[in-house]
């Protein structure tokens, strides 16, 4: 066992850090230094810079455009991106559907989709939840009826994150209405921009941004060749994908960024004429959150190290989802408390009222209430642990 970094790894860190400083354009740097809230176009701009360097998907195998880095290198790279507050890339292609296509896709699918995900040419969104299929996802009703070489899709998806920016959507659809619910689902890919019959309607979140959409399917025709894995095996695909997702969905890296923002607020905020950072009660509270961050971070590293040795993330990754998202929320709550009156502000407040880096914090605080709900609510994760790991009897 060893936690330390080798001289080669430290040199790698220096190289990566220097490159990020050079590669981050001035407009993004300004935002990175002032709270790190990025618009879709800005995230895409950074995606393309990373892709040109070959660093957009460090976790993919080298043959399909990954970096060939080991877990330690990927960890270092991730830390350096966070340290620089670089824009976080959209996970739906790179982290979710990409690895699934690599694992289960046909050669044609790999050729068609992977290079464009990598290059940031095609942006993806996720079509899982429906108005009546949330935690009980297997009860989903979006119908995919066979017609010649196609499927015809009818129904509605919701919580399709940033679908208004997406070129493609991956959906779970019902291809068999009889028998066990889980055994009648297929994993399908749809061109969301160019398929007649698909309509995206964004809605506002409490964070004040249109982060989510409803997506409607009205006789939308897609080729059967866009199915990943066998027909009616979509549930298995979804579970494999969730394993990939859960290691990142805990948001450990984002929490590190929040901790750094909290320190900045605490240095800038006066209490009784002294910086909040000198207040002993506040310091202890920050210390506790930071210790929890180290604790969840260590669990994350163990999962990554196991993955490096070829152990697929199992139900244990549910722990990361639960503990990671609870921690993420705790960090946002501490930031709001540290802000005092400034927590009343909004992203369009004048900078005479509060500094630029604080403008988006209240929005993010609100948006991240969803963290314990999305990706399989934390209660569902607990069901998974009690059934799959602890072997507790069904009710």
């Amino acid at each position: 066992m060893d936690m330390s970094f080798t001289p080669e790894q430290n040199a790698f860190r220096d190289e990566v850090r220097a490159w990020i400083v050079k590669a981050l354009p001035e407009n993004l740097r300004h935002k990175a230094d002032n709270g790190g809230h990025f618009e879709h176009e800005e995230i895409l701009e950074w995606h393309k810079i990373l892709a040109a360097k070959g660093w957009a998907a460090p976790h993919w195998p080298k043959e399909v455009g990954g970096t060939g880095w080991d877990v330690a290198q990927r960890h270092i790279f991730g830390e350096e991106l966070i340290r620089a507050s670089a824009p976080p890339l959209s996970p739906f292609g790179l982290t979710m559907v990409g690895p699934l296509i690599i694992q289960f896709g046909t050669d044609e699918q790999k050729k068609r989709f992977l290079p464009r995900i990598l290059a940031g040419e095609e942006i993806w969104c996720q079509g899982y939840s429906e108005p009546n299929a949330g935690s009980d996802l297997a009860s989903l009703q979006l119908r995919a009826d066979k017609d010649g070489d196609d499927y015809i899709l009818n129904g509605q998806k919701t919580w399709t994150t940033y679908a208004q920016y997406a070129d493609w959507i991956f959906v779970l659809a019902r291809t068999n209405a009889t028998g066990k619910q889980q055994e009648g689902i297929s994993f399908l890919l749809a061109d969301i921009k160019n398929t007649p019959g698909i309509e995206v309607k964004p809605f506002l979140t409490t964070g004040g941004t249109p982060a989510f959409s409803e997506t409607w399917f009205d006789n939308a025709r897609i080729p059967q060749a866009n199915r990943v894995g066998p027909e009616n095996k979509g549930w298995t695909m979804a579970k494999a994908l969730l394993g990939h997702e859960r290691t990142s969905i805990g948001g450990v890296a984002e929490t590190a960024r929040w901790l750094s923002i909290i320190r900045r607020i605490a240095r800038d905020t006066l209490v009784g004429g002294k910086p909040l950072m000198e207040d002993s009660a506040f310091r202890r509270r920050l210390a506790k959150v930071e210790i929890r961050y180290r604790t969840v971070g260590m669990a994350n590293m163990r999962t990554l190290a196991a993955a490096q040795l070829g152990h697929a993330p199992g139900p244990e990754s549910s722990i990361l989802k639960i503990a990671g998202t609870e921690l993420q929320q705790e960090a946002t709550e501490l930031a709001m408390d540290a802000l005092g009156h400034n927590a009343m502000g909004w992203f369009d407040s004048p900078t005479e009222a509060m500094p630029e880096y604080q403008l988006w914090l209240a929005s993010n605080f609100n948006y991240l209430r969803a963290a314990t709900i999305y990706g399989g609510s934390n209660e569902i994760q607990k069901n998974i642990i009690s059934k799959m790991i602890l072997g507790l009897p069904q009710a």
Binding site: M3, Y293, R294, T295, A299, A305, L309, I385, L390
Partner: protein, 383 residues
């Protein structure tokens, strides 16, 4: 970065596991807890023969040149059976200090026989007023013609009632709480003027109150440089904290297993109570905390020999998790068992008590949160 065990480490952990299962289940601890010593010299000798006491010491000192990870793996397994032999007191605390600071003669005389399981050691550092502050030492060592005379009282000395040799912290200069002026001495357990009183612990293990009523020791009993012991004592107590996390890991895992097995078979309202979702989610949360503790146990074990700031960040973080996450496991194991958990007959209570003792040793959560926020690194960034 690598969290895999070596083949030797896996074999050793398996051997300790087998020892606990076959030769030292909880029933052995139950039988020993009322006795004078509270542990069995024969079992200690077996542990010595197996090399478990020597594993982490340098080869020049009669060890196998291993690391603290080896100690942690052994302790984790010992915790599963509540093995009462004084591993932390002898190996992790006093033994490590003798190896770190001792002359060759001191190593040969005091460490070597312990590594073979022929003797046991103790470290006396805490005092009535000191709480967790190691510099808060009122025991004095004054120079005499032949060496030093020790006066003062030490409390909560792990294995202090049975140790053949006691390493004791005493002040050779300065006043109480001064950082400089602390020294360590190696004292025979039966030295004239040393009065030992056994103190029963909540967990069924014993500690001792040691009164040094003018105990005379030769100059050759000074361990390390005079007046410069504090940083070494801090180092040793941090090892103790990492060891507490390791032993408790075995106990917490056992608590989880016992609880899950119990709620699978206990029936109320006509069905297993483990089928109720409120209890399933509690058990899932317990599982999560056990896993989170495990990561921190590993982190602590890996960083005990790092530079002081890094070491303190890791140890304090791990110790806080032991008392927050670990406590969640403890309290809910009792809650899920229901009334029988508070009977002495059930093992749950024994594990519960032992972990609580380990949580309070070597700095509790409040102490470590405070230490964490006082480190220079806290002014920087979390990464």
């Amino acid at each position: 970065m690598n969290f895999e065990l070596s083949e030797e480490q896996t074999m050793m952990a398996d051997a300790v596991k087998k020892f606990v299962t076959n030769a030292s289940p909880v029933t052995r601890f139950r039988a020993l807890r009322g006795t004078e010593t509270g542990w069995d010299p024969k079992a200690w000798a077996t542990m010595g023969e197996q090399g478990w006491l020597a594993v982490s010491f340098p080869e020049a000192h009669g060890g196998y040149g291993g690391t603290f990870i080896d100690n942690a793996l052994i302790l984790e397994q010992l915790g599963r059976g509540l093995v009462p032999e004084p591993y932390i007191a002898s190996v992790v605390l006093a033994g490590a200090l003798i190896s770190r600071l001792g002359s060759q003669a001191q190593v040969d005389t005091f460490l070597a026989p312990m590594l073979e399981g022929r003797t046991s050691l103790a470290l006396a550092y805490a005092e009535k007023q000191s709480r967790y502050e190691l510099a808060d030492c009122e025991t004095t060592a004054t120079r005499s013609a032949g060496g030093y005379v020790l006066r003062g009282t030490k409390l909560w000395v792990l294995n202090g009632h049975a140790a053949d040799t006691v390493v004791v912290a005493a002040r050779t200069s300065g006043t109480s709480r001064d950082k400089a002026g602390l020294s360590l001495f190696v004292v025979d357990g039966d030295a004239p003027g040393l009065e030992r009183t056994r103190v029963h612990g909540m967990d069924g293990q014993s500690t001792a109150l040691l009164k040094f009523n003018g105990v005379e020791v030769g100059a050759d009993r000074l361990l390390g440089a005079e007046g410069a012991a504090l940083e070494h004592l801090e180092w040793a107590i941090d090892r103790g904290a990492a060891a507490a996390c390791a032993e408790a890991q075995g106990e917490l895992a056992e608590l989880l297993t016992l609880t899950v097995e119990y709620i699978k078979q206990r029936k109320q309202f006509g069905r297993a109570i483990g089928s109720f979702q409120v209890l399933q989610h509690r058990a899932a949360d317990m599982f999560a905390e056990v896993e989170l503790c495990k990561g921190m146990m590993i982190l602590a074990a890996l960083q005990v020999d790092d530079d002081a700031d890094k070491r303190k960040v890791a140890i304090s973080s791990a110790k806080v998790q032991l008392q927050t996450g670990g406590w969640f496991v403890q309290e809910n194991s009792v809650q899920l068992f229901g009334g029988i958990a508070v009977t002495d007959e059930q093992d749950v209570g024994l594990y519960f008590k032992r972990v609580r003792v380990l949580q309070g040793l070597f700095g509790d959560a409040d102490y470590h949160v405070d230490r964490y926020q006082s480190l220079p690194s806290f002014e920087g960034e979390a990464l």
